[in-house]
Amino acid sequence: MLPEEVTLLMQAVEAMLFVADEPMPASQFVLAWEEAFGTTITEADVEAAVAALNAAYEATGRVFRIYTWAGGYRLATIPSVHALLQAYKKEQKKLTRSLLETLAIIAYRQPITKAEIDHLRGVDTAHALHRLQELDLIQVVGRSDTIGRPLLYGTTQRFLDHFGLSSLQELPPLPSLETLTTDPLVRKEQIRALLDGLDSENSGTL
C-alpha cells in the first residue's frame, strides 16, 4: 500500500468508528469500503490501520483507543479520564446481584433452560430472565430437545460489549473448586476464602 492509501484507510477507519453505535467487525468495514470506493481491501488492512491509529493516539497523548469488544472495533476513551467523564455523564445503573448471578450461569452454561437455571440458583428466575432480556443481555437461542421442548437461553453481542469481552472465549475461566487441589485442608481454606469473599451485603443477622 502507498503511504497516501494508508493515510486514507486510517482516516476511513477512524471516521467509521467515530459514528458507529456498536462494535464494528472488520468484515463490515471491508464491505462499506468496497461500496464507497469500489476497490478491495482485506480485513488484515483494517487490522493494520487500527493498530496504526492506536499507536498514533498513544504517541500524541490522545485519550482515544480502539478496543476489540464483542467481535468488533469500538472507539472509546481510556480509563484515566473516567472520573471526569463520570462527573458529566449519568452513571449507568449496575446490574443487581440476582441479575448478575443469573447472567453468569447463562454465560457459562449456555445454551441453558430456565429449569436448569432455577435449579442452580435454588429460586425461580422468571423475573431475572425477563429483565435480562429487556436489557438485551440474553436472548432465546433455540429450544431443547427434552420433554416439553423448553426455551434455551444464551448471551447476546451486547453482553460481550457490556463486559468488555471480545468473544465468549475471553470469559474468565470458571473458578474451580474441586480440581484445584486434592488436599482437603487447602480445599477447605479455598472454600472459606470464597465464602468470605461474598459481598458483605449478604451478612444478615439472625
Binding site: L75, L100, G122, L174, L194, L206
Partner: protein, 245 residues
C-alpha cells in the same frame, strides 16, 4: 429472639451459605440436624410474615429434612474396616449443589469487575441512547395501594349527594357501560377528579364507575393519581404512544 434482615437472602442456597459462614462450619461436614432445624425456623417466620418466595425455601426445607432423616437412620457398618467407607453421604448432593452455586457466585463477582472496568471506557453518545433506554421504567399506572383507593371510594360514598329515595327500583349498571362513559369523558379532558366525574350520581353508579376505572387502569388505558389527601383521586388519559407496545 429473632432479628432478621430478610431481604438479604436471595434464596434458600444463600441462606444455607449464610449459616455455614456465620458458624464457620465445614462445608463437607455440615451438622445437618441443626441446620435443618434452623432453616425451618426461618421458613416458619417467612410464612408468618407472608413473604414472597416462601415456596423456594419450603422445597429446600423438605430436602434438608429428607437428608436429616436419612442421616439418623442406622448405616450398615462396613464389613471390612480396612476398606474405605463407600457408603454415600446423604449430604453429598447438597454439598455439590452449594459448591456449584458458590462457583457461579464467584463468577458473577468477577463478571461484575469486568463490567466495572468496561464502564471506565466511554464511547460516543453511550449515555444518550442505550443507557437511558434501559433505565427508563414506565410510569406506574396506579402509584397508590388498593387500600388508598378503597378509602377514597369510601369517603366518596359517605359524602354522596343524592338522598336515597325509598321506592324500590332496581338500578342496573354495567361496568362495561361505565368504561365507555369514562373513556368518553377522558376525551373531553385529559384529567378528571373522580369526585367531579361522579358528582350527583347514585351509590351503585359510583361503584360501577369505580370498577370501570380499575379495569381501565389494568388495561393501561388510564392512569390513577392520588394526591396528598385521600378524599379523592384523579384519573388521567394515558399518552397512547407510551403504552402502545
Amino acid at each position: 429472639m429473632f432479628c432478621v434482615r430478610l431481604a438479604t437472602f436471595e434464596g434458600p442456597l444463600d441462606l444455607l451459605l449464610y449459616f455455614i459462614r456465620r458458624d464457620e462450619l465445614d462445608l463437607y461436614d455440615i451438622p445437618i440436624a441443626r441446620i435443618a432445624d434452623e432453616f425451618l425456623a426461618y421458613v416458619r417466620l417467612m410464612e408468618e410474615l407472608d413473604l414472597d418466595g416462601v415456596s423456594d425455601f419450603l422445597y429446600m426445607a423438605a430436602v434438608l429434612l429428607e437428608i436429616k432423616a436419612r442421616w439418623l437412620l442406622p448405616r450398615p457398618v462396613p464389613v471390612d474396616a480396612e476398606l474405605p467407607n463407600t457408603q454415600e453421604d446423604p449430604r453429598q448432593e447438597l454439598v455439590d449443589r452449594l459448591l456449584i452455586y458458590l462457583q457461579y457466585k464467584a463468577a458473577a463477582e468477577r463478571l461484575a469487575s469486568y463490567a466495572e472496568a468496561r464502564a471506565h471506557h466511554y464511547t460516543r453518545g453511550q449515555a444518550v441512547a442505550p443507557a437511558e433506554a434501559v433505565s427508563v421504567e414506565p410510569v406506574p399506572l396506579a402509584p397508590a395501594s388498593v387500600s388508598d383507593l378503597a378509602e377514597a371510594l369510601e369517603a366518596l360514598l359517605a359524602r354522596r349527594t343524592v338522598i336515597p329515595v325509598h321506592a324500590v327500583r332496581r338500578d342496573v349498571y354495567s361496568v362495561e357501560a361505565q368504561q365507555r362513559y369514562v373513556i368518553e369523558r377522558l376525551r373531553e379532558a385529559d384529567r378528571w377528579s373522580f369526585r367531579d366525574l361522579t358528582q350527583g350520581h347514585s351509590r351503585g353508579w359510583i361503584i360501577a364507575t369505580f370498577l370501570a376505572v380499575l379495569e381501565l387502569a389494568r388495561l393501561g388505558q388510564l392512569r390513577i393519581e392520588i394526591g396528598e389527601g385521600i378524599e379523592d383521586f384523579s384519573i388521567a388519559a394515558v399518552e397512547s404512544d407510551v403504552y402502545a407496545s
